[in-house]
């Protein structure tokens, strides 16, 4: 179970998300905007009777925001009893990665450095292991 990862392309980067930190993967319709909210909040959408806050990871890592395409897939996570959804560019697969998580080598962009926790080797490629809960708040904006 611990070795189960969701491999996805988030903010133009392939990353691995630990499966236990994820609630589900769903598709969104048109979200409702939240005026005056922080820039990485793309809006609200309802999934059954719950309201989820849609987060644009592009903004979190310092890229310009991208519009939400209807039917786009999102990664649903629960943080402190609130539901959030991270916009994913592409959901690849849920897979079992036996390799150990390793310390991050090399200097990351500040945005990525904050959300990434480790690296993992998968199919001959190094993936960042990110914690979705780090995408929710934006302390880095104060520095910017």
């Amino acid at each position: 179970m611990d070795k189960l990862y969701l491999v996805a392309r988030i903010a133009d980067t392939r990353v691995a998300l630990r499966s236990r930190s994820i609630n589900s993967v769903v598709t969104v319709g048109t979200p409702v905007e939240v005026p005056a909210a922080p820039p990485h909040v793309s809006g609200l959408f309802a999934l059954r009777s719950r309201v989820f806050t849609l987060i644009d990871p592009h903004v979190v890592v310092g890229l310009p925001a991208v519009p939400v395409a209807p039917g786009q897939r999102v990664v649903v996570v629960d943080v402190a009893e609130h539901g959030y959804a991270l916009l994913a560019d592409e959901i690849e697969d849920v897979c079992f990665i036996d390799a150990p998580e390793t310390r991050i080598t090399g200097k990351l962009l500040p945005g990525w450095a904050r959300v990434a926790e480790a690296m993992i080797e998968h199919e001959g490629q190094s993936l960042l292991v990110v914690d979705p809960s780090h995408f929710i708040t934006l302390p880095s904006l104060k520095a910017a």
Partner: protein, 808 residues
Amino acid sequence: MVVPRILGRTGTAMDDLLNDFLAETAEILAEAGGALVAWEADPSDRAQLDAIFRLVHTIKGSSGFLSLPRVTALSHAAEDALDQVRRGNRAANAALVTGVLAIVDRLSQLCAILGKKGSEPAGDDTDVISVLSVGGDAPEVPAETAEIQLRREDDLTADLQGWRSIRVPLPLLDSVMTGVTDIVLSRNEFARMLRDSGAAPSLIASFDRLSDSIAGMRQSVSQMRMQRIDKLFSPLPRIVRDLAQDLGKKIRFATSGGEVELDREMMENIRDPLIHIVRNAIDHGIEGLNDRVAAGKDVTATIAVSARQSGNQIEIEVRDDGRGLSPDAIVAKAMASRILSAADARTLTPREKLELIFRPGFSTAAKITAISGRGVGMDIVKANVEKIGGIVELRNEEGRGLSVVLRVPMTLTIISGLMVRAAGQYFAIPRGSVREILLETSDTVRVERVGGGELVTVRGEQFPLLRLEAILGRARDHRDDVEDRALVLVRPGQGQSYALSVAAIHDHEELVIKPAAPIIMATGLYAGTTLPDNGRPVLLLDVQGILAAAAIDASEAGRQMDQAVEAEAAAAAERNAAQLLLFRDTNGRVRGVRLSVIERVEEVPSLALFESAGRIQAQIGEDIFPVHAAALPGDRGTLKLLRLHDGQSVLCYPIDAVIDIVRLPELVQPAVAPGLIAGVVLVGGEPVELIDPFWLMEQYSGAAAGSPERRPVCRLADDHDGWGSNFLAPILQNAGYRVVTEGSDEAADVLLCLTEEGGTCVHGDGEVPVIRLRNSVAATNADDDTIYRYDRGALLEALRRRVGGARS
């Protein structure tokens, strides 16, 4: 108080047992605290002692079963001491009660740890246990040994099951609520699809039945979240006792209305404010013993906490008979703490002086005490109560006492919201804080731009004007029609108001409110999210937060002073001018009716309407009212009814939506012939058809339910075969008479004799007019004043002549 975390469905059997134990014990301990204090006040109250004994015994029993040695030892010690008292070997005194209370406290602490860790912590309890046994070492005179209990074992079996209920974990309850909300949402989606697909009416009808049962279920689930307010009151006696003892005051404490029910979440929110108010009453309100004697009051003070329900609100009152608030002392104090200038102080009304206690940084105590001077002031109480849509009211009688009234909505989660549009999307405003809704183009509204800011004058009163788009940092939606722009006069708290300009008013809806994510709440503009029936999330605006974000002074005090004269004149004019309720009729037309004839606007399920005797009727609560409609409406879920009232009878008029309330223009173009439409007036440049309530009432006056006490009484005499009560009575009742039988000794206005031909009516008791009925069509002779019993017209005519008529 202990609030155990209930783990719900996932735990093992042992976890479940432990959770049940913790939940039950928390309840018992709270109850025992109150019972102990009551018993201390009246040690001869045997029933109270038995109740406490049972409670402690229950804890001991269950803890033994779960092998919690410390809990068992503690409850055993308390049980032992209480048993001594029951046997008369020991007298009840303050020391004993304090000792038992100490055990109760220790048990609460243990349970709190148990709830967190799942196991009993190691520790020593001899300190609290020895207090009890010391008292036992010196047995006082065994008084009243004669009262030896015989039914001791029976007492123990008389369990705590005074109420028939089961314990349900909160997460389960919440998941049921979520489930039902899901069902409602998919029902709505399904309903849309059904409509679009042009399904057969029979299919739609059966779907509607399903729909109604879902609505009913949603209602029941909301009720499941309700709890008796008793729970909120249970820790109070203990607090009063301890505090009174610390301060050397004598206080009698009483609660009432504990059966009133309140949403569990709401309860959490008013617990602390309530405790704070009670503490304040004891600390500041109740005088010292000497002062009370000097004031000629009973040495024992009284604090009463009562709850009552009024409509959708719960009123909780904390009343004390202490010194009350002194406006002058408050002003002096406020000036000393620099929250008020001397100049401002002179302009305050007595009421405003009292309300200074709600200002941050205010404390009425001459010296800060350990009890209430902890930086938590009435400002926090007020803020907490207002956060949940409630208000705090003061009823002060200087020298004789103070009442603090908390008025809160019954549920937090479902509120009535006004849906508005701005920048192309919808937002909700809590209906409770909306004072008035006006069209921006209405002629009672004057919008001015002054020094970059905007203000609006409505009937002589000025309000700061905020545009919702500007607050949200959005541009106006180009599709919005300027004609639709509306002003919502918002009153976020007492003494504050402003006008919020929105692109359009949508409608009213009952909304299920959920907190939004912290990053969204942090904007300060939103109070939560809600999911209306269309399944698209809507943000609930925080009307207080908007004020803070706009950084404007919205207090009403200043502007009323400048405008006092003008406002008074405008108000006087307003009182004279009739108001017009604008609404959209079921046929889509905009119509108006004088506001004064509207009793209220009802929203009823369409099933409440039925057809009977060729007329459409509506069942509202226990009553049935005629409805002005040619046919039953198709199913529309619910529909709105205007309730017209002419002082005697009620008529319902179905409408599509309420639009606005405006001043009735003086110029009315009257209609040619009398009918539903009395004439046409221009409102905001648009023609509006004016409903004629006179004509409407006239149409339905026969069927309208009159008030019962005005009905003349008609007594049936000689009704041997029951024809009178079976055939005649219904007709008479329809015509507005009340029918009593012969046996009744009620004074009758008219007597109806059903005597056979030739017989004489022996019931003529002098004053009362008599009408005799005959069985044959033809009269026997010219002098015959009897009436053929099936001649309805003649009979009613005769009745009208005799009694002056049921109605003119």
